[in-house]
Subunit: 116 residues, 2 copies
DNA sequence: ATTTGACTTGGAGTGCACTCGAAGGGCGAA
DNA sequence: TTCGCCCTTCGAGTGCACTCCAAGTCAAAT
Protein backbone atom coordinates (compact mmCIF):
# COMPACT_ATOMS: atom_id res chain seq x y z
CA UNK A 1 0.00 0.00 0.00
CA UNK A 2 1.29 3.48 -0.88
CA UNK A 3 2.18 6.13 1.64
CA UNK A 4 -1.01 8.01 0.78
CA UNK A 5 -3.17 4.99 1.46
CA UNK A 6 -1.28 4.33 4.68
CA UNK A 7 -1.79 7.98 5.64
CA UNK A 8 -5.48 7.72 4.91
CA UNK A 9 -5.93 4.56 6.89
CA UNK A 10 -3.75 5.52 9.84
CA UNK A 11 -5.00 9.05 10.13
CA UNK A 12 -1.44 10.35 10.06
CA UNK A 13 -0.09 12.53 7.25
CA UNK A 14 2.42 11.20 4.74
CA UNK A 15 4.84 13.75 6.19
CA UNK A 16 4.38 12.30 9.64
CA UNK A 17 4.76 8.76 8.36
CA UNK A 18 8.13 9.63 6.83
CA UNK A 19 9.10 11.48 10.01
CA UNK A 20 8.21 8.49 12.18
CA UNK A 21 10.33 6.26 9.99
CA UNK A 22 13.24 8.70 10.05
CA UNK A 23 13.36 8.81 13.83
CA UNK A 24 13.11 5.04 14.13
CA UNK A 25 9.51 4.71 15.28
CA UNK A 26 8.69 2.57 12.29
CA UNK A 27 11.28 0.11 11.15
CA UNK A 28 11.89 -1.26 7.71
CA UNK A 29 8.86 -0.33 5.66
CA UNK A 30 9.19 -2.24 2.40
CA UNK A 31 10.00 -0.50 -0.88
CA UNK A 32 8.58 -1.28 -4.27
CA UNK A 33 10.50 -1.54 -7.55
CA UNK A 34 11.11 2.19 -7.74
CA UNK A 35 11.97 2.80 -4.11
CA UNK A 36 8.51 3.96 -3.02
CA UNK A 37 7.33 2.90 0.41
CA UNK A 38 5.00 -0.08 0.37
CA UNK A 39 3.16 -0.45 3.66
CA UNK A 40 1.97 -3.85 4.87
CA UNK A 41 -1.03 -4.60 7.07
CA UNK A 42 1.32 -5.23 9.95
CA UNK A 43 2.74 -1.73 9.59
CA UNK A 44 -0.80 -0.41 9.85
CA UNK A 45 -1.40 -2.29 13.08
CA UNK A 46 1.82 -0.96 14.54
CA UNK A 47 0.87 2.55 13.47
CA UNK A 48 -2.48 2.15 15.12
CA UNK A 49 -0.81 1.16 18.36
CA UNK A 50 1.65 4.05 18.11
CA UNK A 51 -1.25 6.42 17.60
CA UNK A 52 -2.87 5.07 20.72
CA UNK A 53 0.29 5.69 22.69
CA UNK A 54 0.44 9.23 21.30
CA UNK A 55 -3.16 10.12 22.05
CA UNK A 56 -2.64 8.91 25.58
CA UNK A 57 0.22 11.36 25.91
CA UNK A 58 3.31 9.20 25.55
CA UNK A 59 6.23 11.28 24.27
CA UNK A 60 7.88 10.49 20.97
CA UNK A 61 11.09 9.73 22.88
CA UNK A 62 9.36 7.06 24.98
CA UNK A 63 7.71 5.62 21.92
CA UNK A 64 11.14 5.38 20.29
CA UNK A 65 12.42 3.52 23.32
CA UNK A 66 9.52 1.11 23.07
CA UNK A 67 10.05 0.64 19.33
CA UNK A 68 13.73 -0.04 19.94
CA UNK A 69 12.94 -2.75 22.48
CA UNK A 70 10.46 -4.26 20.07
CA UNK A 71 13.11 -4.45 17.37
CA UNK A 72 15.44 -6.20 19.80
CA UNK A 73 13.19 -9.23 19.85
CA UNK A 74 10.89 -11.04 22.18
CA UNK A 75 13.34 -11.29 25.08
CA UNK A 76 12.46 -7.62 25.73
CA UNK A 77 8.75 -8.41 26.12
CA UNK A 78 8.98 -8.15 29.91
CA UNK A 79 10.60 -4.77 29.81
CA UNK A 80 8.06 -3.57 27.27
CA UNK A 81 5.24 -4.75 29.49
CA UNK A 82 6.73 -2.80 32.38
CA UNK A 83 6.85 0.34 30.26
CA UNK A 84 3.25 -0.19 29.29
CA UNK A 85 2.25 -0.68 32.92
CA UNK A 86 3.96 2.55 33.85
CA UNK A 87 2.21 4.31 31.03
CA UNK A 88 -1.12 2.79 32.04
CA UNK A 89 -0.71 4.39 35.45
CA UNK A 90 -0.14 7.76 33.83
CA UNK A 91 -3.27 7.29 31.74
CA UNK A 92 -5.28 6.32 34.82
CA UNK A 93 -4.04 9.41 36.64
CA UNK A 94 -4.92 11.58 33.69
CA UNK A 95 -8.44 10.17 33.56
CA UNK A 96 -8.84 10.79 37.28
CA UNK A 97 -7.57 14.33 36.91
CA UNK A 98 -9.85 15.08 33.97
CA UNK A 99 -12.81 13.64 35.83
CA UNK A 100 -12.06 15.98 38.71
CA UNK A 101 -11.67 18.93 36.35
CA UNK A 102 -14.97 18.02 34.75
CA UNK A 103 -16.71 18.42 38.09
CA UNK A 104 -15.30 21.91 38.52
CA UNK A 105 -16.36 22.75 34.98
CA UNK A 106 -19.88 21.51 35.72
CA UNK A 107 -19.98 23.62 38.84
CA UNK A 108 -18.83 26.71 36.97
CA UNK A 109 -21.35 26.15 34.22
CA UNK A 110 -24.32 25.50 36.48
CA UNK A 111 -23.62 28.39 38.79
CA UNK A 112 -25.47 31.36 37.38
CA UNK A 113 -23.73 34.25 39.09
CA UNK A 114 -20.57 35.96 37.92
CA UNK A 115 -18.16 33.39 36.65
CA UNK A 116 -14.55 33.69 37.66
CA UNK B 1 2.09 38.30 47.92
CA UNK B 2 5.31 38.23 45.89
CA UNK B 3 5.70 36.52 42.55
CA UNK B 4 7.69 33.73 44.20
CA UNK B 5 4.92 33.05 46.69
CA UNK B 6 2.33 33.16 43.93
CA UNK B 7 4.48 30.76 41.90
CA UNK B 8 4.76 28.43 44.85
CA UNK B 9 1.06 28.47 45.55
CA UNK B 10 -0.11 28.24 41.95
CA UNK B 11 2.39 25.65 40.86
CA UNK B 12 3.44 27.83 37.95
CA UNK B 13 6.91 29.32 37.62
CA UNK B 14 7.56 33.04 38.12
CA UNK B 15 8.56 33.10 34.46
CA UNK B 16 5.22 31.65 33.45
CA UNK B 17 3.35 34.07 35.69
CA UNK B 18 5.02 37.01 33.95
CA UNK B 19 4.36 35.40 30.59
CA UNK B 20 0.68 34.91 31.36
CA UNK B 21 0.39 38.54 32.36
CA UNK B 22 2.22 39.71 29.23
CA UNK B 23 -0.16 37.88 26.90
CA UNK B 24 -3.21 39.13 28.75
CA UNK B 25 -4.22 35.98 30.57
CA UNK B 26 -3.92 37.73 33.90
CA UNK B 27 -5.05 41.30 34.09
CA UNK B 28 -3.83 44.04 36.34
CA UNK B 29 -1.81 42.37 39.05
CA UNK B 30 -1.14 45.03 41.67
CA UNK B 31 2.33 46.50 42.14
CA UNK B 32 3.94 47.46 45.43
CA UNK B 33 5.89 50.65 46.19
CA UNK B 34 8.86 49.58 44.06
CA UNK B 35 6.97 48.18 41.13
CA UNK B 36 7.11 44.55 42.20
CA UNK B 37 4.05 42.41 41.51
CA UNK B 38 1.80 41.94 44.51
CA UNK B 39 -0.64 39.07 43.99
CA UNK B 40 -4.01 39.01 45.74
CA UNK B 41 -6.02 35.96 46.79
CA UNK B 42 -8.38 36.59 43.90
CA UNK B 43 -5.47 36.36 41.47
CA UNK B 44 -4.63 32.99 42.96
CA UNK B 45 -8.18 31.73 42.41
CA UNK B 46 -8.10 32.89 38.80
CA UNK B 47 -4.73 31.21 38.32
CA UNK B 48 -6.12 28.00 39.72
CA UNK B 49 -8.97 28.12 37.25
CA UNK B 50 -6.60 28.88 34.38
CA UNK B 51 -4.48 25.93 35.39
CA UNK B 52 -7.53 23.73 35.29
CA UNK B 53 -8.32 24.90 31.79
CA UNK B 54 -4.72 24.20 30.75
CA UNK B 55 -4.55 20.72 32.24
CA UNK B 56 -7.77 19.89 30.44
CA UNK B 57 -6.11 20.85 27.18
CA UNK B 58 -7.49 24.31 26.44
CA UNK B 59 -5.07 26.27 24.27
CA UNK B 60 -3.52 29.49 25.49
CA UNK B 61 -5.32 31.29 22.68
CA UNK B 62 -8.73 30.08 23.89
CA UNK B 63 -7.85 30.95 27.46
CA UNK B 64 -6.97 34.46 26.30
CA UNK B 65 -10.35 34.73 24.61
CA UNK B 66 -12.04 33.67 27.83
CA UNK B 67 -9.95 36.10 29.89
CA UNK B 68 -10.85 38.89 27.50
CA UNK B 69 -14.57 38.19 27.86
CA UNK B 70 -14.17 38.14 31.61
CA UNK B 71 -12.54 41.56 31.56
CA UNK B 72 -15.46 42.89 29.50
CA UNK B 73 -17.79 42.41 32.42
CA UNK B 74 -20.71 40.30 33.43
CA UNK B 75 -22.75 40.85 30.29
CA UNK B 76 -20.40 38.31 28.69
CA UNK B 77 -21.28 35.62 31.24
CA UNK B 78 -23.53 33.82 28.77
CA UNK B 79 -20.88 33.66 26.12
CA UNK B 80 -18.34 32.47 28.65
CA UNK B 81 -20.67 29.73 29.75
CA UNK B 82 -21.06 28.62 26.15
CA UNK B 83 -17.29 28.43 25.77
CA UNK B 84 -17.09 26.39 28.92
CA UNK B 85 -19.82 24.05 27.72
CA UNK B 86 -17.95 23.50 24.49
CA UNK B 87 -14.79 22.84 26.39
CA UNK B 88 -16.61 20.46 28.70
CA UNK B 89 -17.61 18.40 25.68
CA UNK B 90 -14.01 18.21 24.61
CA UNK B 91 -13.01 17.05 28.07
CA UNK B 92 -15.75 14.43 28.08
CA UNK B 93 -14.60 13.15 24.70
CA UNK B 94 -11.04 13.00 25.90
CA UNK B 95 -12.04 11.00 28.97
CA UNK B 96 -13.99 8.60 26.77
CA UNK B 97 -11.07 8.23 24.43
CA UNK B 98 -8.60 7.64 27.23
CA UNK B 99 -10.91 5.09 28.78
CA UNK B 100 -11.01 3.24 25.48
CA UNK B 101 -7.22 3.45 25.15
CA UNK B 102 -6.88 2.11 28.67
CA UNK B 103 -8.77 -1.03 27.67
CA UNK B 104 -6.39 -1.64 24.80
CA UNK B 105 -3.45 -1.07 27.10
CA UNK B 106 -4.90 -3.57 29.57
CA UNK B 107 -5.33 -6.08 26.80
CA UNK B 108 -1.75 -5.60 25.61
CA UNK B 109 -0.39 -5.93 29.10
CA UNK B 110 -2.38 -9.02 30.04
CA UNK B 111 -1.69 -10.85 26.86
CA UNK B 112 1.47 -12.88 27.40
CA UNK B 113 2.60 -13.62 23.85
CA UNK B 114 4.71 -11.38 21.68
CA UNK B 115 3.58 -7.84 22.07
CA UNK B 116 3.21 -5.70 18.99
C1' DA C 1 8.36 13.64 -26.43
C1' DT C 2 6.61 16.14 -22.92
C1' DT C 3 3.76 16.78 -19.21
C1' DT C 4 1.66 15.36 -14.98
C1' DG C 5 1.72 13.65 -10.61
C1' DA C 6 3.21 10.82 -6.86
C1' DC C 7 7.08 9.50 -4.89
C1' DT C 8 12.13 9.94 -2.87
C1' DT C 9 15.79 12.39 0.28
C1' DG C 10 17.85 15.83 3.41
C1' DG C 11 17.31 19.75 5.60
C1' DA C 12 14.90 23.85 6.94
C1' DG C 13 10.74 26.03 8.87
C1' DT C 14 6.54 26.37 11.98
C1' DG C 15 3.58 26.88 16.08
C1' DC C 16 2.95 26.28 20.69
C1' DA C 17 4.01 27.08 25.36
C1' DC C 18 7.01 28.21 27.78
C1' DT C 19 11.94 29.43 29.54
C1' DC C 20 15.85 32.01 29.89
C1' DG C 21 19.26 35.90 29.53
C1' DA C 22 20.78 40.62 29.77
C1' DA C 23 20.64 44.92 31.77
C1' DG C 24 19.25 47.43 35.37
C1' DG C 25 16.67 49.05 39.98
C1' DG C 26 15.70 48.71 45.13
C1' DC C 27 16.69 47.36 49.59
C1' DG C 28 18.39 45.04 53.78
C1' DA C 29 22.51 43.05 56.07
C1' DA C 30 27.71 43.09 57.16
C1' DT D 1 29.16 51.14 50.99
C1' DT D 2 29.49 47.15 48.96
C1' DC D 3 27.36 42.67 48.59
C1' DG D 4 23.75 39.73 47.59
C1' DC D 5 19.31 38.90 46.26
C1' DC D 6 14.97 39.51 44.32
C1' DC D 7 12.59 42.16 41.42
C1' DT D 8 11.64 44.70 36.70
C1' DT D 9 11.27 44.72 31.19
C1' DC D 10 12.21 43.21 26.61
C1' DG D 11 13.66 40.14 23.58
C1' DA D 12 15.72 35.98 22.37
C1' DG D 13 16.15 30.94 22.97
C1' DT D 14 14.35 26.08 23.76
C1' DG D 15 12.03 21.61 23.07
C1' DC D 16 8.59 19.13 21.11
C1' DA D 17 6.16 17.30 17.32
C1' DC D 18 5.42 17.91 13.39
C1' DT D 19 5.24 20.25 8.56
C1' DC D 20 7.02 21.84 4.53
C1' DC D 21 10.36 22.76 0.76
C1' DA D 22 13.77 21.94 -2.89
C1' DA D 23 15.70 19.03 -6.00
C1' DG D 24 15.45 15.00 -8.17
C1' DT D 25 13.44 10.18 -9.92
C1' DC D 26 10.14 7.39 -12.14
C1' DA D 27 6.01 5.81 -14.66
C1' DA D 28 1.83 6.52 -16.88
C1' DA D 29 -0.98 9.63 -19.76
C1' DT D 30 -1.44 12.83 -23.73
Amino acid sequence: MTIQEAAQRSGLSAHTLRYYERIGLIHSVGRDHNGHRDYAEEDLRWLEFLTRLRTTGMSIADMCRYAELRRMGKHTAGERRELLKLHRERVRSKIAELTEDLKVLDYKINRNGDMA
